[in-house]
């Protein structure tokens, strides 16, 4: 409201098809945030609360960097905003600081860490890799995506990771296959040893990474992105079953021990609003048809006929 700073977009970059990076002015969030945490923003008066991971921050400039995929109505609307415009609300930092950051330094020094980023998961992985390097630890990183043009933040992560490995489903870049093929390649074929894997990406990817790393007996941390409303522990929308106990991702997480997460339940819960949202989108699209497309149709009909 009136006393708040305007949450102005000071930088906007298109990283790949429908993936955007934005630096947004939010001094209170920038002042205290840490890797692993997230923010919630609202685009406009009628918007919903969108949770997004903090990808980077500049405490002096008072800005926070987010990277997001324009998927549904709200993220598409966000993608339409340009530099100089502002979002209505921006709050955080939310959630717990990354487990690596909280780990006693001596212990972390002895661990060999591999990051596994799937798709936009590269965004939450980036600040962790950067933090590791800046604090004197080495780490490797796998970045995976469907194809080459969807690989993001490779250079940025490359600045801080010891080794970066790429995998693409279609083989257009790096190893052909998914991130699990890349993990297997490193650990099984090349015999690389890792003590901890941090895997962040779509839930289905994290699920399969965890099945593999359980086999390989490597501790795995995942960052969960269930549906959220407030992000402060007030609603329970984000609840997950972790090792048989109910946890709220927004306050207890978003990071959890991947081998304890009930992914099947989490994925079912994530799909909860699919039909509701689908119907809404359909209504909007149909509305469009009546207003613009309908006219286009009339103009084009004679030509095609």
């Amino acid at each position: 409201m009136t006393e708040n700073h305007a949450y102005v977009i000071v930088k906007k970059v298109k990283l790949a098809e429908s993936i955007y990076l934005m630096d947004i002015k939010a001094p209170r969030v920038a002042a205290g945030c840490q890797p692993g945490q997230f923010i919630i923003l609202i685009v406009d008066e009628k918007g919903e609360r969108i949770p997004l991971t903090i990808c980077d921050y500049d405490r002096e400039q008072g800005t926070v960097t987010i990277v997001f995929q324009a998927l549904g109505k709200s993220t598409k609307q966000l993608a339409e905003l340009e530099e100089g415009q502002a979002v209505r609300d921006f709050t955080g930092p939310l959630g717990q600081v990354s487990e690596l950051v909280k780990m006693p330094r001596e212990e972390l020094g002895k661990k060999k860490v591999l990051f596994v980023a799937g798709g936009v998961g590269a965004a939450p992985v980036y600040p962790q890799v950067k933090w590791m390097k800046e604090n004197g630890y080495e780490a490797d990183c796998i970045i995976g995506a469907r194809s080459k043009d969807l690989i993001i933040l490779e250079n940025e992560i490359g600045k801080y990771a010891k080794n970066v490995y790429i995998s693409t489903d279609d083989g257009s870049y790096g190893i052909k296959g998914n991130v699990n093929d890349a993990i297997r390649h490193l650990v099984v074929e090349k015999g690389e040893h890792y003590d901890i894997i941090v895997a962040i990406g779509p839930m289905i990817m994290m699920k399969y990474v965890c099945i593999l790393t359980k086999e390989l007996d490597i501790k795995t941390i995942v960052s969960m992105n269930p549906i959220m409303v407030d992000g402060t522990g007030m609603c329970g929308a984000c609840r997950l079953t972790i090792g048989g106990a109910v946890k709220f991702a927004c306050v207890d997480g978003p990071e959890f021990d991947g081998h304890l997460v009930n992914f099947d339940e989490a994925m079912k819960r994530l799909s909860m609003y699919k039909t509701v949202e689908g119907r809404k989108m359909l209504k909007e699209l149909e509305g469009d048809t009546h207003h613009h497309k309908g006219c286009e149709c009339h103009e084009e009909l004679p030509k095609n006929a």
């Binding site: 409201m1 708040n4 929308a237």
Partner: protein
């Protein structure tokens, strides 16, 4: 006119109102209010006042209504209460002021709440504002949370000339008044917002989107941002679940989530982006105001709704008026019934709820008779949505991030009842954060008492 009976109040007809979110109770006209006010016999020793947690001069303001000096009535109420349009609507009057009213012995008590509401609405419509303080002392105080406790404390401190900033975690100020209590009971644009605007008139600053303990800590506010005293009014917002099988299924919600989606995020209005699942047959578990609000919201979204409560009608903790309204709206009551399991289909969605009948046994520590299961009485309710409204507790965030702030075993902040003083010098607390989930007027009373103690502390410092 029969002086034993109240002047009846107009309400939206149940058949109509289940299709909209407009206010159910339409309030008194001036003539009706004056008539009802005339029923008060102006007791020398008014018992009604003893029943009001903030001791409003009830005969005083009612007398001004009789004289048709509504502005004066408003000024009288405003000395005691910062949010009269709200209390007039949501106070459990039947157990407070009106319970004690002398008129209630032979007939119906004076409609104190409805008169209070009338006065506050009239003042708003006629643009009567509280008066801004003449002198400011420039001393900075921070209020954490913008529910009734925080807003009241802010008002009191601003009137004393302090430089007040309210910090609110959500994107709208108001606490439960905006995210919990529905539009049809407490309109946001016309009632809640103007009352909050009145505070700004007094110079109160409100900073939303600040989660104290995450965005900034209380210690930082005091050490780095120059706040000399802090009031914590963060409420009791964490939802409880029952811990029964199936509770994480799709279609099971906390009442907080359901109500937040509908009220704060306005999901009931298709122009807003936040989705809500309406369900065809909805079970709401619980019997308090929260349960009634969730049930009546689901009803308005088009569902067939059942309240499932483990004690009997007499123990329903909700306001009598809300239970009455819920019944009028066709909500079914499964009393002496308790859920045991939520039945889930292959896709992870709710398909029913297994319940057991209860009977009342010996009184428990709360003095209410304890419900016990009737063995072998299990039955299944066919529902596709379940809303849990079985209570809330305070968020541990503030306690875990503020050095030396004591809490009790329920996670409530320990504070002196009369002054709101906590274990930390200069930090005061009140409302649901201290008492656990209670009422709007108790939260306001606590905010007011804390302001007096805070003022004294700062003056003597």
């Amino acid at each position: 006119m029969d002086v034993l009976k109240r002047v009846p109040i107009k309400e939206q007809n149940p058949d109509e109102r289940i299709h909209n979110f407009d206010e159910v109770c339409l309030g008194y006209t001036k003539d009706e209010a004056v008539l009802e006010a005339g029923r008060c016999i102006q007791c020398k020793n008014p018992r009604c006042v003893q029943g009001c947690p903030v001791s409003i001069d009830i005969p005083g303001f009612i007398n001004a209504v009789v004289r048709e000096d509504i502005e004066e009535a408003y000024r009288i109420i405003n000395k005691y209460s910062a949010l009269p349009a709200i209390c007039g609507r949501v106070c459990p009057q039947e157990t407070q002021c009106e319970k004690n009213c002398i008129r209630g012995i032979k007939g119906e008590p004076v409609s104190i709440g409805k008169l209070e509401r009338f006065v506050a609405d009239w003042a708003r419509e006629n643009n009567i504002k509280p008066k801004a303080p003449e002198k400011k002392n420039g001393i900075k105080v921070a209020i954490i949370g913008s529910g009734p406790a925080g807003l009241t404390c802010a008002k009191e401190m601003a009137e004393r000339g302090y430089d007040v900033t309210v910090f609110e975690a959500l994107h709208e100020p108001g606490g439960v008044l905006v995210y919990g209590i529905p539009e049809f009971r407490l309109p946001k644009e016309t009632v809640v917002k103007p009352e909050i605007e009145n505070l700004k008139e007094l110079g109160v600053k409100i900073e939303t989107n600040v989660i104290v303990g995450k965005s900034v800590t209380i210690d930082e506010l005091m050490d780095e941002e120059g706040f000399k005293a802090v009031f914590i009014g963060t409420g009791a917002g964490l939802p409880k679940f029952m811990g029964i099988p199936g509770e994480n299924a799709n279609g099971v919600f906390s009442a907080n989530e359901y109500l937040t989606r509908s009220n704060l995020m306005k999901a009931f209005d298709s122009n807003y982006d936040t989705p809500i699942i309406t369900g065809k047959r909805v079970a709401v578990v619980g019997g308090g105001n929260v349960a009634m609000d969730a049930a009546r919201t689901a009803r308005r979204l088009g569902a067939e709704v059942m309240i499932v409560y483990r004690r009997s009608e007499a123990e329903l903790p909700a306001r009598v008026e809300e239970v009455h309204h819920a019944k009028e709206e066709g909500i079914q009551f499964y009393l002496l019934t308790n859920p045991k399991e939520i039945l889930v289909d292959d896709n992870g969605w709710v398909r029913g709820m297994r319940c057991v009948r209860m009977e009342l046994g010996e009184p428990d520590s709360s003095g209410r008779r304890r419900p016990v299961e009737v063995e072998g009485s299990d039955f299944d309710l066919e529902v596709d949505t379940v809303i849990m409204a079985i209570g809330t507790s305070p968020n541990p965030l503030i306690i875990s991030t503020t050095n030396g702030l004591q809490s009790n075993k329920h996670g409530c902040i320990v504070a002196d009842e009369a002054t709101g003083k906590t274990s930390r010098e200069g930090i005061f607390a009140g409302g649901d954060a201290v008492t656990g989930a209670a009422t709007v007027i108790l939260a306001m009373g606590a905010g007011k008492a804390a302001a007096a103690a805070m003022d004294e502390y700062l003056q003597n410092k």
